[in-house]
């Protein structure tokens, strides 16, 4: 029984699955490719369950607040009520589909659009205060931002036909070259750290009793 509790068993599971998936990329052999699809499908199923656990742990968090009658506890009660109502409407089959779509379209969608509009606002005050030519680097950032901005804001096209081609040239060559360099370095850095995870050397993953939801 103790072998099942041993942490090294987890590292072995991670190692075997990762190595087979990587091997299936290089060796063209049907069983390896089927294993990759099967393992990915299993990973997808488990990820589905983690979303469930996330919803339940959020509900537990809010129920505790209601029980302890903390400030605004009625909002927490409303949270849990709306969570369960919406969930049972969602899985209720055809009968409740119309009510589910009503809440989805008239409440969920409108709040979503409003929050994304709100997010855009916060940038405005920053454009005035932070967009300043303090040094060469900030200067390059601002000049490049304005050129690309004018490339996309089509009103520039009516000002002078040169802006769009210049912007497209800036995007197609210098920007692409810079992103290629950054992309190559991030890839190596991320793979080096993923290697440590696969080889079980990443102490950061030593399981502290963490909440598995996020």
């Amino acid at each position: 029984m103790s072998i099942l509790r041993d942490r090294r068993l987890n590292d072995i599971i991670v190692f075997i699955i990762a190595v087979i998936i990587i091997a299936s990329y290089i060796i063209v052999w049907a069983p390896l490719r089927t294993f990759t699809s099967e393992a990915s499908a299993w990973g997808s199923v488990i990820a589905g369950f983690t979303m469930f656990v996330g919803a339940i742990s959020a509900a537990v968090y809010h129920v505790n607040k209601v029980i302890r009658r903390e400030e605004d506890w009625w909002l927490n009660a409303y949270f849990v009520a709306m969570l369960f109502i919406m969930f049972f409407l969602g899985i209720g089959g055809v009968g409740t589909k119309q009510a589910y779509n009503f809440i989805f379209t008239n409440i969920y969608r409108q709040i979503g659009t409003a929050t994304s509009a709100l997010g855009g606002l916060f940038l405005i005050s920053a454009f005035y205060r932070s967009f300043r030519l303090q040094n060469i680097e900030a200067g390059i950032v601002i000049v490049s931002a304005v050129i690309v901005g004018f490339t996309f804001a089509t009103v520039a096209g009516s000002m002078s036909p040169l802006i769009k081609p210049m912007g497209i040239w800036l995007l197609t060559y210098p920007t692409m070259a810079a992103m290629r360099g950054i992309m190559m370095c991030i890839a190596i850095g991320a793979v080096a750290i993923s290697l440590r995870v696969v080889l079980g050397m990443e102490r950061g993953l030593r399981p502290i009793e963490e909440d598995v939801t996020q």
Binding site: I26, I27, F122, A126, C185, A192, S194, R196
Partner: protein, 259 residues
């Protein structure tokens, strides 16, 4: 039948160089990471907080732990938080760190507690004061931190880890309260411009992965950071030679890599 051989070669080179630098790390002179100015400024930032008797705000990013894209940066954020906590314990500055995802909370609390124990200041460690879980929803999270920055007026804010939208709403008030800001983000490069125009020091993408190793001087993490250099040097050589070949209309290397 084998395909994508160049991918296999690059992976083998990375694993071999990783093993080499781990062995070198155990030897007399382990590999050292070059100076990263933004990380040297962390000491200066905490010293400034002690002098001005204002708190240090350290945000280890708001990425998930279990998401492989964000995992490396979240780990770098936790290591940075550990280093900052050791400094605040040693010099007695007030530490505040805000957490977005519940999965990150145990790592953050654990790392700050261990820092204070290592500095012999276990009694000064105040869990709920120093490591604050806000909420996992993004807009309310950064709205709360915006208010916190305006109220606590931190002398230094150190933001290294995975970040996404809402960074401006934290760096902008930070600048206006005169806090020395160090920002860094790796895979989400779309966030770096906001750090560049608001922070005093910026860690550029892959430097964030090196933050953990650079600050903790842990030989294994150093090996993980430095081993990538071999692949990068190979890439530079291939790019230079390949371009020369292209100018003389010879596509030998081009076909070789596509095998």
């Amino acid at each position: 039948m084998i395909e994508k051989i160049s991918v296999l070669v690059m992976l083998v080179v990375l694993v071999v160089s990783y093993a080499y630098f781990i062995q070198k790390g155990k030897g007399p002179n382990p590999a050292q990471i070059r100076r990263i100015p933004a990380l040297d400024a962390v000491d200066e930032a905490v010293a400034r907080a002690v002098e001005m008797e204002r708190p240090v705000l350290c945000i280890p990013g708001w990425g998930r732990i279990l998401d492989l894209e964000m995992f490396p940066e979240s780990m770098a954020g936790i290591s940075t938080l550990n280093y900052v906590a050791r400094l605040t314990a040693r010099y007695g500055a007030e530490l505040i760190s805000t957490i977005r995802f519940p999965a990150m909370l145990p790592y953050a609390e654990d790392t700050v507690e261990q820092a204070y124990i290592a500095e012999g200041k276990r009694d000064e460690f105040k869990r709920s004061e120093m490591v604050r879980y806000i909420t996992s929803d993004q807009v309310p999270y950064y709205t709360h931190v915006m208010g916190l920055v305006a109220r606590e007026r931190p002398a230094a804010s150190i933001m290294i880890g995975y970040f996404s939208g809402g960074v401006m709403q934290i760096c902008e008030p930070g600048r206006s309260v005169g806090s020395l800001q160090i920002g860094g983000c790796a895979s989400n490069v779309a966030i770096l411009p906001y750090f560049i125009i608001t922070c005093d020091y910026v860690l550029m993408s892959e430097e964030v992965y090196a933050a953990g190793a650079y600050l903790t001087k842990d030989p294994e993490m150093m090996a993980g950071t430095v081993c990538g250099d071999v692949n990068k040097l190979i890439a530079i050589i291939l790019l230079l030679i390949g371009t020369l070949f292209a100018y003389v209309r010879n596509d030998l290397l081009f076909e070789l890599l596509r095998m």
